[in-house]
Structure formats: structure tokens, C-alpha cells
Subunit: 409 residues, 2 copies
């Protein structure tokens, strides 16, 4: 725990309830209550507490369509879980509701053996309102890739340019599909959300997720950006978590399957799992899905997805490979994660605990937690002020673990 960053004094979660603050209330909202794309306010706390529940109102999106059949029933066995307690990595004792508030949750669904034992919302969170999933999206893309590999439709040992010749001159020219799937890529691309010069911002501008500054002459699509990135170091040895890798994998997956990512997600996951609502995927100005982080979905559907995965939604070898995890030594060398995720690893865009718990994780606290032994799935959407999960993990991970233990006790 020695590398754990100190916990700053965060704003009050209750006082930043977007309903209380009045974001986007009024017709039209007064200027000081507007949340906009053009001024970047949608990504800034506390405006983000409204925006993350309304991402399609800022960006072009493609539908990830549910099927025509009614969704399978989700039985409800509410349990008195408010007294479940956990100890944060900073040593504080919190009840489950306190831990949720402390991590600025917008929605939470806990399933035990397929039944909803707890469901709650805060602020703009609502049962049928989708919420930004950010990098939880990556785990969907990684799962699609793993399914295609299992089916023989994608060769994980192939070099990326075998599928995407456009990337031959880029950092990915000599990378294998598997190296991309596991984020073992040496690429000159940075993703520190606190650094205004980080590559993620140029990537985001190219993808239309940020407004173009006046006189902008950079790339106008994700593909145009991806072909420009250069190699730095070697592929293979290091685990380096970078959104561009998933964007490259999305391109690979689309080429392997011959379909647009949103359609593929619909056909291979959203329809088979019996989603209640359509989800959405933000797209760039050329129609390419932001596979690195562009999904929004309801927290209920996120939980359904976890339950589907837990109970045989994908072939057993695909799931077993995920749960075995990736290279723990490589993961442990990644400064950013070793403090809060000791013993974890990363495989096919999933986070894997030493005990085989699977997590999908997105900035600002988006989480899907699948504990196979406890038969527990926890989906939580959030609008934490900090992008990096290193600031909510000290509360989140002990709370999720305590909840799983309480349910299987």
C-alpha cells in the first residue's frame, strides 16, 4: 500500500447532486447552468455529474440495438445490505451506502445468483437512462476479439497490418493482434488525464470527442490519427494501458468480422444477452466507433452483461482464458496500477484479480465486477471528480469485495 496516493479533499458528493445544482434545467437553461460540448464543460466536474448520464446529447452516436424479444426476467430479492461494511485502503470504515456516495455513484446494480439484491441511483442516474461507460467499452471490444480468435475468424498471432494494412507504417506495423489485445505495445502516446499535452487529447480531437480549436489542421478521424503514431520502445515486455490500443483493436475486429463495431456488439452481445435497452456508441465524423471508450448503457444492462458472461454467454475456453489473466509481472511494473491492484493482471482488455475476479473499468469510476466464486456481479456507474480510478479504487475495491463476501456468507 506504500505507493497509494494520498486522498485529496474531494467536493461533497451530496452537494454536487446535479439536480440540486440545476444543470441543464430550464428552457433553455440559463448560461450559468449550461453544460456544453463546445466549451468542454461536459467533461468537467461538477457538470460531468449531469453530462455522463446524457452523452448522446453531446456527440453523434450509433445505436447498439437490443433484440426484438422481451428481456429475460431479472428476479428481485432485495436484501438489507446497507450495513455491509468495508475498510478503505486508507483505513476508514464505511458502510455500503457511504462507499457508494464517496465514489460519486450515479447507479448501482448488485446481482447474486442472477437476482437483483440491490439497485440504487443518485443524481441524474435512472433505471432506463444510459450512462457513459468510458473504458468499460474496452472490455467489450476485447471480448469480441477473444470470441473471434476462438472461432478462428481472427489470428491472434497475425501482425496488425495483415488486417489493417493502413497501419503498416505506424507503431503497430510489427505488433501482433495479441500484443494489442493485452496492451503490450510500445507506442509514443501518453494518457495522463492531468497533462494538457497528453496524446489522449489529440486523439480525442481527431475523434470528435473534443471541439476543434480555431484553425485546427490535425486529423479529422480516428483512423487518420492512428496511422500517425510512432513506435517507442518494444512491443511485448511492458503492460502499458493506452486507449489507442483498443482503438486499433476495434479496427482489427471490424476488419475481421466485416461489420461496424456497433452492429457487431449488437449481434454478438447485446441481442444474445437480452439487453433491456439499446446502448449507444459515440462515433467520429467518418462513422467509426470510439471502441476505446465510447459506449453508454444502463447500469442494469451492464449488470446483465456481467451475468451473461458469468453464466456461459461466451464459450468456456474464452472465459477461462480471461480468468487466467495476463502477465502479472508486467502488470506489477506499471506504476499507475500496482498500488491499488496488487497481484492483478490484464488480459484481452479485462482486469483480472489474483482470485479470478474479472473487472471492466472506466475513468471516473465506471465498473463491472464479476466474482465467479461468490456468484456476484456488481455494476456501478459514477461521476468521480478524478479521471483515474486510483482515486476511487481505495474505496471501491474493498467495498465490492465486502459486498461479495456478505452475499455468499
Amino acid at each position: 500500500m506504500s505507493h497509494l496516493p494520498p486522498s485529496p479533499a474531494w467536493p461533497d458528493p451530496v452537494a454536487t447532486d446535479p439536480r440540486l445544482m440545476g444543470w441543464m434545467q430550464g428552457s433553455p437553461p440559463p448560461p450559468d447552468k449550461l453544460v456544453r460540448f463546445a466549451d468542454g464543460s461536459r467533461m468537467r466536474f461538477p457538470m460531468s455529474r449531469w453530462a455522463f448520464s446524457h452523452m448522446r446529447e453531446f456527440l453523434p452516436t450509433a445505436a447498439i440495438a437490443r433484440g426484438e424479444e422481451p428481456p429475460p426476467a431479472l428476479p428481485r430479492r432485495p436484501q438489507p445490505l446497507d450495513k455491509v461494511e468495508s475498510t478503505t485502503m486508507h483505513g476508514e470504515r464505511l458502510t455500503w451506502p457511504q462507499a457508494l456516495l464517496r465514489t460519486y455513484f450515479d447507479g448501482v446494480v448488485v446481482l447474486h445468483r442472477g437476482a437483483v439484491v440491490h439497485e440504487d441511483y443518485f443524481g441524474e442516474g435512472a433505471p432506463r437512462r444510459e450512462h457513459a461507460l468510458f473504458s468499460v467499452t474496452k472490455s467489450f471490444v476485447g471480448l469480441l476479439a477473444a470470441m473471434l480468435v476462438h472461432e478462428g475468424a481472427l489470428d491472434e498471432t497475425a501482425p496488425v497490418p495483415a488486417l489493417v494494412p493502413e497501419l503498416a507504417g505506424s507503431a503497430y506495423g510489427d505488433a501482433t493482434v495479441r500484443e494489442v489485445m493485452d496492451m503490450r505495445i510500445g507506442v509514443d502516446y501518453t494518457e495522463d488525464y492531468t497533462d494538457p499535452a497528453a496524446s489522449i487529447w489529440a486523439f480525442s480531437r481527431a475523434g470528435g470527442m473534443l471541439p476543434e480549436p480555431p484553425g485546427y489542421t490535425g486529423p479529422h478521424s480516428l483512423a487518420e490519427y492512428m496511422v500517425t503514431v510512432r513506435k517507442q520502445g518494444e512491443h511485448g515486455p511492458a503492460f502499458a494501458y493506452k486507449t489507442i490500443n483498443t482503438q486499433v483493436l476495434s479496427w482489427v475486429v471490424e476488419r475481421a468480422a466485416g461489420r461496424r463495431l456497433a452492429d457487431l456488439l449488437s449481434a454478438r452481445i447485446w441481442v444474445p444477452m437480452g439487453a433491456e435497452c439499446d446502448a449507444s456508441m459515440s462515433i467520429d465524423s467518418h462513422g467509426a466507433a470510439f471502441g476505446g471508450g465510447g459506449m453508454s448503457a444502463t447500469v442494469r444492462d451492464l449488470a446483465r452483461f456481467g451475468e451473461w458472461l458469468r453464466t456461459g454467454g461466451v464459450p468456456a475456453p474464452v472465459l477461462a482464458d480471461l480468468r487466467r489473466g495476463g502477465d502479472r509481472a508486467a502488470f506489477a511494473r506499471a506504476e499507475m496500477f500496482r498500488a491499488t491492484l496488487p497481484g492483478w493482471s490484464y488480459r484481452s482488455m479485462w482486469w483480472v484479480s489474483p482470485e479470478g475476479v474479472l473487472m471492466a473499468r472506466g475513468i471516473h469510476g465506471q465498473s463491472l465486477y464479476i466474482d465467479f466464486d461468490a456468484e456476484v456481479v456488481i455494476a456501478r456507474t459514477a461521476s468521480h471528480p478524478a479521471a483515474s480510478n486510483v482515486f476511487n479504487d481505495p474505496v471501491t475495491l474493498p467495498a465490492f469485495g465486502a459486498m461479495a463476501r456478505a452475499l455468499c456468507a
Copy 2:
């Protein structure tokens, strides 16, 4: 029929099938197959044949949410209707399928006594894929206004500034709500889609439906545009069909109901009618709905809406008032419509035939046709090359009439 414009030689509807033409196929699509927002191609034929089925991929949208319950069953009684014939206003004999193709249909659902007797799709049209409704949206807004008037929540005799003080200095400063509902407004605003200088383009740029040209200094929201329009002539005497009137009515309705338009459409129409899919509403950069024409919905849900209206979805006096229609003499003086809609009128944003048929109509052929006597509802989405319905009405209206007669024969 003497004022009927000649029928130009239109492109071949089958050869402009967007699947054949390959729009947006490939990852990413090659440059000559891209349909984009920035270059305006989404609104140009034949790219529009792809784009109208994918509007949310170009624009920010708010969800119009369906309810949690499964949609009521829509019984199917398919009938051999392919031989139903009609004579166009230009004297040509066409079968039902020929008339559909000739009007560049993308989807069609025909209900008789609540059962689906015909359903078909073309090109990018699909049962669960929403399609741009354009000014069909106006009839939804007009219906909401009429419902609020009936409930006493909106005074149709009130001057617009009583609800929207911001409009006191505009053309609407001395207009009543009812004059707006019936498009009896004298306003310096033009809407000829073939005139590049028409006001509709400045309105669209303000609303974010068109890209801002470099150095743009105009209004950045629909509200900012609306306050600038000036009076021209008098309110009351003339019927003048202008999208800005519905945009003003949307503002009035939001203020009267105290809710955002998309939420109001959901709560008052989409949930009660038992929609199968969410619909979407394009919004401006300040989150305001484009009530003048921003909805997309599936053609099935459009048909369900017609059936709900036909069978008591709204209070009987509201429906009776619509069906009585508006001022036929005023309507007959409107050059644009008298050739194809003789004897019709306009009431609360609905088009009303001399026989009490109700229509909701949008550019490029979007249509909802409700024939109460025949107990027939026809919903059709389309991507006709011409914006103005004067070019498809000569085929559409005889075909719809023949279908209704055939079904109740």
C-alpha cells in the same frame, strides 16, 4: 390539378439503393463512400438514402424513452395487397409496390383495424432502425400543445410572450399561441429548400443541424435565433407553413409543461402508446430539442402512434378538434399546397383532408396517414430526392387513398 408542377425525371429508385451504392461500407469507408455532417452530404441525394436511417450518427440527440412494459402485441394479418392500384395525379396507373418505389420509400407499415396488413422495407430501412421524420415531428409538438390546452395547462388565446418573455421583441411579440399552432404567423422568414438564401439555412446553422462556416458569428442556439426574427405582414389571415413556428411552439410547450420536449414526448405519448423502441430527438448545442423537425423513430412506432391516436389515445375533444381541421380558405391561398391538397386545411400542426383524414408530413416523403372511416393507418418513411412533398404527393396521396379503400372494401 392545373397548378400541379411537372414531374421531373427522377433518378432510378432501385439503382440508388444505398446498399448497392455502398455508402458508409468499409472500416472506415473509402472517401468516395463517406456520408458526412461537415460537408452536408447527409442531406444530399443519393447519400441521404443512407443518412436518413442514421440521423443520430450525425447529430447530438436526446432519447425519447419508451416505457418499461413490453409493447402491446401488434397482430399480423398480411394480405395480398400488391395488386392495389392507383392513378397518380399525372394520370399514370401504378400498383402499390410501384407507388412505394416511385416515392423512394425506406419503410412502410399499413394497419387495418389495428393489425399489420403490410410491412416492407427498402435500402437502409429496417424494422428496428429509426428513420428521420423531419416535419412529422411538428404534429407531435402540435398534439402536445393541443393536449395541454385541453387540460387547461396552456391558454391558446395567450400572447406568446406570456409564456416566453424572451420573444416579446420578436415577430411573436403580438401572436397568440393558437396562431402559432395553426401557422397563422406573419414573419420575415423563408423556407424554400431550393433557395440557398432561405431563412431555414440560418435557422439550421443556429440549431447545429448544419456545420458553421469558418468565421461564423451568428447565433449558436435555436433560442438565440428565434428572438431575432421580425414580423412581416399580419398574424391571423394567412396560412404560412414555416418551421420556426413549431420551434416557437416547442418553447411554449416546454414552458407550459415545465419539462424538456424529449421527456414530455416520452411521458405523454411514447410511453402511453406502448412504443417498441426509443425514438430520438436532435438537439442544439444548448440542449434544446429541434421540435420543428428533429425526431427519428421506427416506421412501426410511427404506425403505432397513428393507431393510438385513432383509438382514443388522446381525449375525444382534442381529436375532434384536429379532425374538424383549420381554415380551408386560408389554406387554399397557400400556393405551395393547393395543387396536391385541394380542400385540405391545417390545424394544430396536423394536415386535415376534407374527409377528416389526418396526416403528419415531413420533407422527402415522411408520412403518417390516419383514415378514421376506413380504420386504416399508413406510416411511410422515405428518401425522395426532392424535399418538398409536392413532388411525391401526386403519387403518394392517390396510393394511400386506394389502399384505404381496398382495405375497407
